[in-house]
């Protein structure tokens, strides 16, 4: 694996944490009910009730990073799932339906399914398919899309009412109760982890940036799958200390940071290191991204249910293009970004469609140019190495001003 930037010492901790998480999840079904949940589901409730959560999306990313996703996608396609559907969904369904050898032997069998559409409506269909396959109960949490900035009272009420329904539904199916003390504890731990994650990301405003996008993508796993646990908080504390140390010492993630870049959309997992190494060669460091940013929204714990309703409805990808453009303008300014790379991800329509308009909106307001590259987060059939390299090269040359190196030299 090409890794042209400094490895974090906490990488060992992350490894240990995730290995333990997956090892534990193998056995967890023996002691506790297991729910499969979407990445934007309010797991704090499940955690507090002692229900274990497993994340098919995270599993999809893992299959992508291990470069087995395409084969698994084909498996699902053989069962009638169109090649144009989300590759997390396809490769996970493929891992469920297929007979192939699959990473970690698959996720622990679900007793329950909980899907929230704050990331997309695709996830709901994916879970409907799983519910039919496993013949287990499915709960859908509907968080109405925000075409406008204000979150209206009837929307919050609707989501909050469904959260109450979710609690009753979980109790009915597992016999477990939601104890207020445990709930508050999970919320607090979740909030702490999210806050640490946010602080870590903010540290990347430093020049040079202590982290590059692959660091963010890899280190986001605990915030997704271990949100609401002590382990996550401990891990992020340690990570933050290391990143702070880097900033204090003036240590950058890449050897020579000439261009500060912003990444939009999900990573291209099978090419994670290779693609970013290519930018590193040209002096590009991704100091910030919109994907891992999604897990840094503060949680309001004063009114737990209403707070959860607000937080989970207002996640970035559940907001209008206009609001997403605004978020990017803010990131560009605060992180002093020179260029934006938009991953036009065939798999994820809600995230990718509209990127052309966002690019124009952000450019108009900041003057920072954007490059759109067509690819897929997991399915390697949608990734054309040659053309992507050429386009990146050309883009980096525009950033530099021609001839190359000149603008870069001025900048230094």
């Amino acid at each position: 694996m090409v890794r042209k930037y400094k490895k974090l010492a906490t990488a060992k901790d992350l490894n240990r944490l995730m290995t333990r998480y997956y090892a534990k999840s193998k056995l967890v079904g023996k002691f506790r009910p297991v729910a499969w949940v979407t990445s934007g589901a309010p797991v704090e409730i499940l955690t507090a009730m002692g229900i274990a959560s497993a994340y098919p999306e995270n599993y999809g990313a893992l299959c992508g990073a291990r470069r087995v996703a395409t084969v698994l996608c084909q498996e699902a396609e053989g069962h009638g799932y169109s090649q144009d559907l989300c590759s997390y969904a396809r490769c996970h369904i493929g891992s469920v339906l297929g007979k192939a050898d699959i990473p970690l032997g698959g996720l622990p069998r679900p007793d329950l399914l909980v899907a929230c559409n704050n990331i997309c409506s695709t996830a709901v269909k994916w879970y409907e398919a799983l519910a039919q396959h496993y013949k287990v109960p499915l709960f859908v949490l509907d968080t109405p899309f925000m075409h406008h900035a204000e979150l209206e009272a009837h929307t919050v009420q609707y989501v909050a009412a469904q959260l109450e329904e979710l609690i009753a539904w979980l109790q009915k199916h597992t016999g477990r109760k939601l104890v207020q003390k445990k709930f508050l504890e999970a919320l607090t731990l979740s909030r702490q982890a999210v806050q640490l994650w946010r602080e870590i990301r903010e540290l990347c405003q430093a020049k040079p940036s202590p982290l590059n996008a692959p660091d963010l993508f890899i280190n986001m796993a605990p915030i997704v799958v271990l949100r609401g646990t002590k382990e996550a908080v401990t891990f992020y504390r340690k990570l933050k200390a290391e990143v702070e140390e880097r900033v204090a010492q003036g240590v950058g993630a890449v050897p020579e940071e000439r261009y500060r870049l912003l990444w939009d959309n999900i990573a291209i997992w099978p090419r994670l290191f290779r693609l970013f190494a290519y930018f590193v060669d040209l002096g590009g460091c991704f100091v910030v991204d919109t994907y891992t940013n999604a897990w840094s929204v503060d949680l309001d714990v004063s009114e737990p249910i209403e707070g959860l309703a607000r937080t989970y409805t207002a996640v970035c990808i559940n907001q209008s293009l206009q609001m997403r453009a605004e978020t990017m303008v803010d990131l560009v300014r605060r992180f002093d970004v020179d260029g934006i790379v938009f991953h036009s991800n065939r798999s994820c329509k809600p995230y990718s469609l509209g990127q052309y308009d966002i690019r124009r909106m952000v450019d108009e307001r900041t003057g920072v140019p954007g490059l759109v590259i067509e690819a897929d987060m997991c399915d390697t059939r949608a990734y054309a190495e040659g053309p992507i390299k050429t386009r990146i090269q050309a883009f980096m040359e525009t950033l530099a001003g021609w001839p190359p190196g000149e603008a870069a030299a001025q900048k230094l």
């Binding site: 009638g80 169109s82 329904e165 909106m361």
Partner: protein, 378 residues
Amino acid sequence: MLLDDRRMESTLSTFITAGELPYRSWSERYPDRQAMGYLCTYAPEEVIHAAGFTPLRLRTGPELPTRAEAHLQSFTCALCRSVLHQALRGDLAFLCGLIFPHTCDTLQVLADIWRENFPDLFVATVVQPLNLDSPSARPYLMTELERFRRSLAELCGRPIGDDSLWSSIRLHNETRRLLSRLDKQRAHLTARDFYAVVEASMVMPKEQFNPLAAELIEFLGEQAPRHKGPRLVLSGPVLDDLTVLDIIDDLGAGVVGDDLCTGSRYFDQLAVETGDGDPIEALADRYLKRRPCPAKHSLHCRRGEYLLELIEKRQADGLVFTLQKFCDPHAFEYAIVKETLDAAGVPHLLLELEHTPAVGQLRTRLEAFLEMLQVRRT
């Protein structure tokens, strides 16, 4: 009889012309009308009508959607690309506004793109609930519909009273009733003609459509069934390009029922129309009761079972999925429903339609499928 035949032909041709795309001549055809565009059967047509506008459904046009390329990637469904193209070309300049209900991820993005690119146009979003099984969906939906009613009232500068809403509800119910009757008599029409009538109902002012449709239904009673070949049920999202139907007609088969967005899902379920109580409640209840689009979630609607019932009721020989390429909710639904159909031994065919369908290939595949059905029959 001959006279009747001629009148029927002329009624049909009125419907066919009404539905023709692009809509450029719409204003000339209905000079005293103001059109409000919408994209999906979840748009509250009754509220639009009560505000004094004529709801007009936007559909995929014949032109290649080249102008949409600067806004929507190639993995967007033809419908969304085409309507944006039509708008950017100026074909929709006569619209007073556009209504986006919430269904799929693509439509959700398109609403924002529209607001961004036509800043002077009235664009309203109605975010209908997805979780139809939740008891809290109903109050939420009612507030959302009220909000929509207010924003239209603001646009037209006067309140939308309950009385005008009730009369719009009755008008739209009448259209749905007529279309349901026609649905049961469709054996007397070619597949293309049937869907041309449904298209017209979404384009013409309902006041003009209803009497003509009633007339047509009367004539049809006396016609002989059109086809002798295999009987098909269609399932999928919108079916805007009627080429598939031409092929089916041409091959002597018939369409005897459907679960299409531009078919029975448009006229499924009536709203309560008693005139007392809250009209918004009546509308909300219809949305919660109607057969949902796959982009909505309801454990009470098992499409597979619904289709099996329909197939049995209409004595169909097989089912054709007319899917739009890049339409996620229906693509998932296909994989889910397929299992049920396979288990029940119902023959089915998947046609994935792109903007310009490959006619020859469609024909070959349909031909083979129909032959197989014919063999099974005998």
